[in-house]
Symmetry: D2
Subunit: 343 residues, 4 copies
C-alpha cells in the first residue's frame, strides 16, 4: 500500500515488474530455487486515461497485491516444533504467544517483494534522481574500486559493479552452497541527482530515515553513510569535504559525508552501505531448542539463498527510493520548492 | 517535551541532573571549555505529592527547559559569511533560504542536551533495564576487550570501559588538540535486562528504530547492531547464535545478533555501536566558499571538542533509553504484557 | 488493513461477515439494489491453530480484501463529463487533475465496507464493550425515546430502536423514492462497558477522535457527543452530571456528558450522534456544469439509497469500535491497566 | 511548539499578541477576572535578519512559552478532595491515579492560550485565507442572520457579528452571573479564500480534521460543517449545491456543504460551527463525591467565565487556521500546487 503518491504520474507496469524480477528468486544458481512469479497486480490508485490510453496515478492510495504462488503443501513439523537459530521464530513466539511457522510468517524475507514494488512507485515521484546499488563485499572479499562500473551491475547474477569480483566470487559461493553454508555481504546504494535541501534537523534527518529504512530490511545488521564506521578513524582535517566556488553554486571537493550534512542533502551523491548477515537457514546442523525447551539440533532444509545479500541489492535501491521520495514531498510541503540551490 | 510517559513514576531531579552533567561541556580538557550549566527545569507533567513529598509524573506531557547561559555577545561574521566544511551551514541555507548562523542554530550539538534529559525520563519507564555505554575506539585505536570493565566508564574523562586505553588515548588527544585537529570515535551502547518481545516486524523493528535514533545524533555516520558491518564477513555457521535449554527458558550460546532477531528483542543484551565523525570545527585552515559563492579559507576558532565522540557516550545511552521505553509501551499496548518468556 | 491488533484473539469469519451483511446493499427496498456480496477474505494476520482448529490473530497486520463483484460494464459518459452536485467529482478533479469517474472512485461510499470489516476486528479487542447504534431521526421525524428498545434495531430494515417509528418512516421513504428524491438522517451510536480512563488530554481526546472518525464517514456533516449542539442551550446547573457515592465507586446521576469528561471516558455509556446528509445521487434534475465549464443539468440514474443514513448505522458502530479499541491500547500502553476504577 | 512551519515567513510579535489578547481573561465582565498577561515569548524557530531587521521563521520548530503569572497561593483543599461535576477531575484520576488539582492541571482551559499562539503562526502560512468567527447562539438565543456583519465581532465583548444580539445578551449574561450560573453557546468559524483541493479522501478528510480540532477544544460537545445536524432534515433536492459555469471556473449557487465535498475544499467558504457546554465551575451547589467515595456538595468558587463559549471564538479561529495550514502543506507536498482551479 503506497499512500500519498502524487497524482498524474505515468505508471508502466512493465517497469514495476522489471524491478520485481531483479529481486525474485530463481534468477541464478546463487539465489533460492523457489519459483515465484512475483507478479504485481495494482488494485487501486491508478486509472487508465481514455484519451491517452496510459495508466496514471490518481493521488489516492496505490494498493498492490503480490500473490504467493509457490506455497507447497509440505511438512512443516521440523520448523514448527523447533526454533531456528538466527531466525525470528523464538522472538515472534515470545512476543505474540503464537507463531505462523510456515516459511517464517511475517518475518519471511518474502515481504521484501512489497518493498521493491513500493520503490518502483517511489522512483516515479523523483524522476530526476538515479538510484543504483551494487554488491561491494561478500564474506571477506571486497570489490576493487578502480574497476567500479555501474553498467556491470545488471550483467552478472551478483549485482556487482566489479565484473572481475563477480566472476571470482561465483566460485566462492558455489563452494559455500555445496558445503551447506552461507555468507554475509555488503551492499552500497547510491542516489545521484538529489538536490540540496532534502531532509530535516534533529529527529527528521534524511540520514536517520535512511538508517531506519536499511536496517528494517531482513538480515541487515549495520548501516553506513559516506565514510560510515570508518569516519571514526579520520582526523577532522582529513574528513572535511572542502568546498570550492562553482559557476553557479559551490561544490564539494570530496564526498566523505555521503551527500548528507546535518541530516540534509548537500547535492552530492547520497551514499549508503549496509551489511547483510549470512542466511540463517543452512544445511549445517546447529544446536537449538524445541518449543517446549528441550535441546535438539536443526538442519534447515529447503531452497535457500547462499547469500541473501545478493537479492538485497534491488531491495536497498527500493528503500532508498522510498525514503528520498518521502523527503522530497516533505521538502516541497514546507518550502514550496523541489530543492536545489539558489535562494 | 516527553509525551506518553506513564503516570506515577518517581522523578528525582538530582538523577536527571547527574545525566546532564555527564554530557555537559567543560568536564575535562578533552571536551569544549564552554561553560554551560545545562540545568533542567521541569515546566509540566510532574506533581509534588503532598503525602509523600516526592515528585511524580502525572501522565501528561513533561516539558523540560534548558536555558543557554553561555551565549556570548561575540563576532559571528566569520561563520555568518562562510560555510564551514563538515557543518550543516550550507545545507540549512539551501533548504530554508535563511540561516541562524550563531553557533550552528538548530544544527548545534547543543540540542543533544535535550536528548539526555529525555533519556533520563525514559529510564524511569523501564527500571529493570540497565543501559551503559563506552567509548570503544578513537581514531585508529580500539579498546582491548579483555580489559572491558563497565565500572571504569565513569572513572575516566573518556567514558571508556578500558582503563588502560583511556589513559593511552589521553596523550593522543592532547596532541590532536595542540595541533588544532580532531578525531572520530566509536561508541558502544549496551542494554541489559530487556526481555524478549520488544519490537515489531517489518517497518517497526527495534533495530530500525535504534538505527534511526543513533544516526540522528549529530556527527554519527554509521550504526551497527551485534556483529554489525562485520556480519558481512561471517558464514552462516559462524554467525548463528545457537540455543540451549535453560531451567525455565532457552538461552543463546552467543550474542552475534546483538539481542535482536527479526526486529524483536530476544532477551540477550541489546548491543549497538555507532561511529562519530571527527569534530568539523578545527583550527586547521580548510578551503571553503562564502555565502556569495567565492573561494576562501576558514579556521573555526572557538571552544571545540577535539573528539565529539566522547560526549556522545551519554547521548547514545539516552537514545537507547528512549527507543526501548517506546517499544516497551508499544509492546504493552498490543499484548498487555511487559515482555518476557512464558506464554 | 488493520495494524497493531493484539495477538491470539479468536477470529470468527462468520461474525465478521454478519457485520458486513448489515451494511451491504440490497437488504431492503430502502437501500440500493446493487448486488454486492461484500465477502471478506483475510489475506494475512491470522493463523489456524492446529491444536484447537480455530483461527487466531497473530499480532501482525490483518489484511482483508473485499472484491467488487458488481462492476457493470456500463456507460459512464454522463458522470464522466459532468460534475454531480453534492459529490466529490469537482473537488477530486481540482485536487488531483485526474478523476476515476466510475462509481465515484475513491470517494464512493463503497469504501465504508472496509470500515465495517475493521470494526469487526476492533470489537474483538474490547470484548467487554457493547456497541450498538440506531437511526434516531430521518428527515424531520425523530424517534420517541420512550419507545427506545435496542432489541428492535435488527428487527426492521431501518436499524431503528423505535419499532413504531421504523414502521411510520417506511411510507415516507417509499414516497421519497418514488419521487426520485432522498433525505438525511441522524444515527446514534452508544458504547456501554467502557471503563473510566480511556482517552487523553488536549489533542488526544477520545471525543476528538470520535468526532474525526464519524465525520470521516461519507456524507456526515455533524457530530455530537452527549448533549451535543443542545449543550449550548443549557445552563451550568442543568448540564452538570452530579455524582453520588456507590458501593465501590462513584456514579453519575445523569449522562449529559455522553460518557466523556475532559476527553477521557468516565465509565458511563459513550454516546455519539451524527447527521448524514441526503443521498446526492437523485433522479430530480439538478443544475451543474461540465468538465469544460459549460452549464448543463444532471439526473443521477442508477441504484441509489433514498437515505444513506440507514446503512450508516453499522458503519457508525464500526467507527466507534475502531476508536475505542485504539484508545484501549493506548491506555494500556501508558498505564499498564485495562481501565477502570480503583487505584 | 509549532513544527513544520515554512521558512522565511515574517513574524510580527505584535500580531501574535493581539490574537492572544482576544482570548485572555479579564477583557470584559463576561469573562473570568483572573489577570493573565498571556505574553508569548518565542524561544526558537525565528531569526532576526540583520539586513531587514525583521523577524523571520527559520523553518525549524517554533517554541513559544506563555508563563502563568497569576498562580495564587491559595487553598485548593476544596477541589483537591472532591470531584467537580462536569470537570475532568474524576476521569484524570481514574486514568492516571494521580491528579494535579491546582486549577484543573492539564485539563485547564488555560491550555487554549497555546492554541491561539499556534493559530497566529498558522495564519502566516496561508496568508490568502481569511478566518473569522462569531458567537451565533448563547443559551436559547440565536443571532439574526440578516444583521450578520463581520465588522461587529471585535466591537463587542461577546465576539458577536450581530450587534443587537450582543447587546441583548449582555443583560442575560449579567443575570446568569449574579445567580451563580452559566450557559452554553455556539461559535461559527468561517474561512474564506480557501482554494479548491485542500483535504484528502477517507481518513484524511479536511472535514474530519476540523471536527477533531474543534471537538478537542475544552467544553466542546458538537461540531457541524455547513448544514451540520440540520442536513438530516433536508431532501436531496434541497441539499444539493447546484453549480453554474463561471468566467473561469464553475461556482456553486449555495453552500450547504460548508465548502467541503468528499473531504476536500471546493473553493467556497469553509463553515464550521461548534457547541460549547456551559461553564462547569458554578456557584450553584451541586452534588458530588469526595476522592474517597463519600457524598458531598460542591460550590466552585473562584473567577469563572459565565459563558466559556465567548472566549472560544478566537480559539475556534486558531484551530481552523492550524487545520487549514496543515492541509495546505499536505496538498502542496502531494501535488506541487497551492490549490486552486485549472489543470
Amino acid at each position: 500500500m503506497v499512500d500519498g503518491c502524487p497524482p498524474r504520474l505515468d505508471v508502466d507496469l512493465g517497469d514495476i515488474q522489471r524491478q520485481m524480477d531483479r529481486r525474485k528468486p530463481g534468477q541464478s544458481r546463487f539465489t533460492t530455487q523457489r519459483r515465484e512469479d512475483d507478479e504485481v497486480k495494482i488494485l487501486s490508485g491508478v486509472f487508465e486515461d481514455e484519451l491517452t490510453g496510459g495508466l496514471k496515478t490518481t493521488g489516492t492510495p496505490i494498493s498492490m497485491l503480490i500473490e504467493n504462488k509457490d506455497q507447497r503443501s509440505k511438512d512443516y513439523s521440523e520448523i514448527r516444533d523447533k526454533y531456528r537459530p538466527g531466525h525470528a521464530d523464538f522472538t515472534y513466539f515470545e512476543k505474540y504467544g503464537i507463531r505462523d511457522y510456515r516459511g517464517g510468517g511475517r518475518a519471511s524475507a518474502r515481504e521484501t517483494a512489497a518493498r521493491v514494488a513500493a520503490g518502483a512507485i517511489a522512483r516515479l515521484v523523483i524522476p530526476a534522481v538515479t538510484i543504483r546499488a551494487s554488491l561491494v563485499q561478500i564474506g571477506p572479499y571486497r570489490i576493487d574500486r578502480s574497476r567500479f562500473d555501474w553498467h556491470e551491475v545488471d550483467n552478472n547474477p551478483l549485482f556487482c559493479a566489479d565484473r572481475q569480483a563477480a566472476s571470482d566470487w561465483a566460485d566462492y559461493l558455489d563452494g559455500l552452497r555445496k558445503s551447506g553454508d552461507s555468507v554475509g555481504a555488503v551492499v552500497e546504494v547510491v542516489a545521484t541527482g538529489v538536490p540540496p535541501g532534502w531532509g530535516a534537523p534533529v529527529y527528521g534527518k534524511l540520514s536517520a530515515d535512511l538508517a531506519s529504512a536499511m536496517m528494517s530490511i531482513n538480515a541487515v545488521k549495520g548501516v553506513e553513510i559516506g565514510e560510515g564506521m570508518h569516519a571514526a578513524e579520520l582526523t577532522g582535517s582529513a574528513n572535511a569535504d572542502e568546498m570550492r566556488a562553482g559557476p553557479e553554486a559551490p561544490w564539494f571537493k570530496s564526498n566523505k559525508a555521503g551527500g548528507i550534512l546535518g541530516g540534509i542533502s548537500n547535492g552530492d551523491p547520497v551514499v549508503v552501505r549496509f551489511a547483510v548477515k549470512p542466511t540463517s537457514s543452512i544445511l549445517t546442523p546447529r544446536q537449538t531448542v524445541t518449543m517446549d525447551n528441550r535441546n535438539t539440533d536443526i538442519v534447515t532444509k529447503g531452497r535457500h539463498d547462499p547469500c541473501v545479500g545478493i537479492r538485497a541489492v534491488p531491495i536497498g535501491e527500493a528503500m532508498m527510493a522510498c525514503v528520498l521520495a518521502d523527503h522530497f514531498l516533505r521538502h516541497r510541503a514546507q518550502t514550496g520548492r523541489d530543492g536545489g540551490v539558489g535562494y
